[in-house]
């Protein structure tokens, strides 16, 4: 039986068969040396989203691969109708264009070496972006079903209310969403340390179980190499004061947002999910990086549970903020999309919490702005996984 919230959803058809919930025109910098160009272009044409780069030059190995994959994923994102990739030398933007092409989307490129100086780049670029903006208006609005959607799951600024209400409510929503054919991606493997037994039981196969646990332990090893013992320093004194006793308990609280369905596998950073169901993405936990990884992997929106509050949203994937903390609801109401504080008083149970999340998601999918979109509190940043030369 299809739940009520999934009725009457609509999105934008893209050439590769995916559907977007926004119809953005984006300008993406292929490296940090053209960020000023990207910013000035975005400022010239109303409505254009700017996706600056943090690095992009001199990167090597997995770090470079992840950067390219993430840039390609953002350029080809279903929420993006048209994308202009800018660079200094043509090869850099063409490299990103090739990644987008692999994902079934064509993008436009522009480089200093082909154009000349900044003024010529701005002239040609803004002309092109104006054309793209009007082309974007032609995107076909089509009905959207749960199986068209990839939803990112995230929590940050977690507290007692996250583990008790916010995450279990999102978990209940996730279960229902997976059951009607949706795809969900959670991440932050570092926050699964101590939840290995749950991951093993929920893994779709023995092989997936090994991958999940190995991914979690990689972060533990990485932390150890830098002198941090995660199992020894978690729960933190703050967590302890809030009533958490063990790292298992903390991780299970974070994993509660992922519901109870079988975990299909581990995705590398910004890798699109190859099939429906729920997946774990291998990406660092810091909010901006993590939401960027989920967006670059093709998530059309992100559900973000917070306890003490977190303003972050991604410019490409609308980020829905959920809290059950009454203090946060008072202090930071303008940043919150879903108010679950009634769960604390007992007038809302977990399933009702899940319904509240679903209702808000339906509205956001159909075009209502999230708090972060309204406040333009949007940031993108691809994780740095190694040094450059």
């Amino acid at each position: 039986m299809t739940p009520v919230w999934t009725e009457n959803l609509a999105g934008y058809a893209r050439s590769n068969g995916r559907k977007g919930i926004r119809n953005l025109v984006a300008v993406l910098a292929a490296a940090d040396n053209v960020n000023p160009l990207a910013r000035q272009l975005a400022a010239r044409v109303p409505g254009v989203v700017c996706l600056p780069a943090s690095y992009g030059r001199g990167q090597m190995g997995r770090d470079f691969e992840v950067t390219l994959r993430a840039m390609g994923g953002l350029a080809a994102h279903p929420n993006v109708a048209e994308c202009l990739v800018v660079s200094f030398e043509p090869e850099s933007s063409e490299r990103v264009a090739a990644r987008a092409h692999k994902l079934g989307r064509s993008v436009h490129t522009l480089s200093f070496l082909e154009c000349g100086g900044l003024n010529e780049c701005l002239e040609r670029g803004s002309h092109l972006l104006r054309q793209l903006s009007s082309q974007a208006c032609d995107a076909k609005r089509v009905p959207l079903k749960p199986d068209d959607l990839v939803v990112g799951l995230e929590c940050g600024g977690s507290d007692t209310t996250s583990g008790l209400f916010g995450n279990p409510a999102l978990g209940a929503f996730t279960d229902e969403f997976i059951d009607v054919g949706g795809t969900a991606v959670f991440s932050e493997p570092v926050e699964c340390l101590g939840g290995e037994e749950l991951l093993r039981k929920r893994a779709a196969s023995e092989e997936v179980a090994e991958r999940l646990i190995a991914t979690v332990h990689e972060y533990d090893d990485l932390a150890r190499e830098h002198g941090v013992d995660l199992a020894g320093t978690n729960p933190t004194p703050d967590n302890m004061a809030g009533g958490l006793t063990s790292i298992e308990e903390k991780s299970l609280g974070a994993l509660a947002k992922t519901g109870s369905r079988r975990i299909m596998g581990v995705l590398d950073y910004a890798q699109p999910s190859p099939a429906r169901g729920i997946w774990m993405m291998d990406a660092p936990a810091a909010a901006v990086e993590n939401v960027t990884a989920l967006a670059a992997g093709g998530a059309q929106l992100v559900c973000f549970v917070t306890g003490t509050g977190n303003p972050t949203g991604h410019p490409v994937s609308p980020t829905v903020k959920i809290t059950a903390n009454p203090g946060t609801m008072q202090r930071m109401a303008e940043h919150i999309d879903v108010d679950l504080t009634a769960m604390l008083g007992g007038s809302m149970n977990v399933l009702q919490g899940a319904q509240a999340i679903a209702a808000r998601l339906a509205a956001v999918i159909n075009g209502e702005a999230t708090a972060a979109e309204r406040l333009q509190y949007l940031e993108t940043n691809i994780s740095r996984l190694g040094p450059s030369v």
Binding site: L164, G194, G232, M240, T245, S246, N349, V389
Partner: protein, 452 residues
């Protein structure tokens, strides 16, 4: 009862604990409700005061049994727990955290040659020349022989990372320019152990000729433990005095950020026996950063006088200390010694000093620009090598023969423990912690180096 009850949430039907949604006094009524259905499962009285968000047991739990929440075990009962009791760290522990700690006490015995070969292989694989890799391999093997594990294999991975990132030049040729007894050494961003070895030998040779030799080194990198170079000089029948600057971590009392490293001072001199030396080797911080990281892991408060937070206030919280600064040992006297040592190293060498030295962790592709100072005094010129060794032995015996209050440990002279350990470990092998052994062999595998 129900009207005044505090609500507690049971997340899954088979959970052993529920979380209370308000603080409950001892004896206060609690109504446990199931999260999904909102149905009341149980009414129970709190056996102790339970703070907001904390767990109450919904059934009796036997000691050593798992405790479930979210439908999964979250830990193990460390005591009998009765229904209505507060469940927290006093009667429950993680099932995970003891495991790595037990592992860390596992010991693997390896000969010094094993450590030397493994380091040599890894450092060469990271692009360093054989001779330069060998300088680091000797210093790291010596650190383990003398029980200075803090400068042993656990440093290898960051050293290799810096070599591979280009932060250290594995083939640089340290340049020595001599003005009689005074030598200037430009490390040219080479491996610190190699540069320090070159400088220590140059100072020692100058002392042989002039009675004293001083090498001032700039543009070097982390060289391991200072005592090693002081005893290199002492083994040539000289007194060795060594200092260095390094990564910034120490602040004067009240300062909001660190400004100096914990510059070590090492002084070594030969004793009559061939394999014993006086070897003083002290860092000038009240403690090492590694000790603060360990305290954070164990959630232990720091003793006063160790550290201050980022606002310059004294702190016992290891997390606040890590964000702030370490203090010098011995209050203002220690800080004074530290400043004077920096005046003799970074400042005197003409290289980089104080907070201009790069952080090892933050910038692996950036030269550290460490400065060192090596002083060698030739004993043959002073009063004869053997005469000095005999007189030093007399000093040691004066210490050893002091009448002592019963129950106090024997007096040790500086370096006594290190050289006793070294003799034992040369004979029996080096005990490597599980963490050191694992990290080093994993690194060797990554680099494709055959494990000896």
């Amino acid at each position: 009862m129900a009207l005044n009850s505090v609500r507690a949430i049971l997340l899954e039907p088979n959970d052993d604990v529920a979380a209370v949604l308000e603080a409950v006094p001892a004896g206060g009524p609690i109504r446990v409700t199931h999260a999904a259905s909102g149905k009341t499962v149980l009414d129970v009285a709190a056996r102790q005061e339970i703070p907001f968000g904390h767990k109450v047991a919904v059934r009796d739990l036997a000691r050593d049994n798992p405790i479930r929440r979210y439908g999964w075990p979250i830990g193990i009962a460390t005591a009998e727990i009765r229904r209505g009791e507060h469940v927290h760290s006093h009667n429950m522990r993680s099932a995970l955290s003891p495991a790595p700690r037990q592992q860390s006490t596992q010991i693997t015995l390896r000969p010094a040659q094993w450590v030397r070969d493994l380091v040599q292989g890894c450092v060469e694989a990271a692009g360093a020349s054989t001779q330069r890799a060998s300088a680091m391999a000797d210093a790291i093997a010596e650190a383990h022989l003398r029980g200075v594990e803090t400068h042993g294999l656990r440093r290898l991975s960051p050293y290799v990372a810096r070599l591979r990132a280009g932060g250290v030049d594995g083939n640089a040729h340290a340049q020595v320019s001599a003005m009689r007894a005074l030598l200037h050494v430009d490390g040219r961003n080479g491996i610190g152990h190699h540069v320090a070895g070159v400088a220590a030998r140059a100072a020692s040779e100058a002392a042989r000729e002039f009675g004293i030799g001083i090498a001032l080194v700039r543009n070097s990198n982390h060289f391991g433990f200072a005592g090693y170079y002081a005893t290199l000089i002492a083994a040539a029948g000289q007194i060795g005095i060594v200092s260095s600057n390094g990564q910034v971590c120490v602040a004067p009392e009240g300062a909001k950020r660190p400004v100096l490293s914990n510059n070590p001072l090492a002084i070594a001199a030969p004793l009559p026996e061939p394999d014993a030396f006086l070897e003083l080797d002290l860092a000038t911080s009240a403690t090492s950063r590694a000790n603060v990281v360990e305290a954070a892991r164990l959630r232990m408060p720091l003793p006063s006088g160790w550290a201050q937070d980022a606002s310059g206030k004294p702190t016992g919280d290891p997390a606040a200390a890590l964000a702030g600064s370490l203090l010098a040992f011995g209050g203002n006297r220690g800080f004074g010694l530290l400043v004077a040592l920096e005046a003799l190293t970074g400042v005197l060498s003409g290289g980089v000093f104080a907070d201009q030295v790069s952080s090892k962790e933050a910038a692996p592709n950036f030269p550290e620009n460490t400065a060192h100072t090596f002083i060698a005094i030739d004993l043959e010129r002073a009063l004869g090598r053997d005469a000095y060794a005999q007189r030093l032995d007399q000093l040691v015996r004066k210490l050893k023969e002091l009448p002592m209050h019963s129950g106090t440990p024997d007096i040790r002279y500086p370096g006594e423990r290190r050289w006793r350990l070294r003799r034992e470990r040369l004979r029996d092998g080096i005990p490597l912690s599980h963490a050191d052994f694992e990290a080093a062999t994993r690194l060797a595998k990554e680099l494709g180096v055959a494990i000896p």
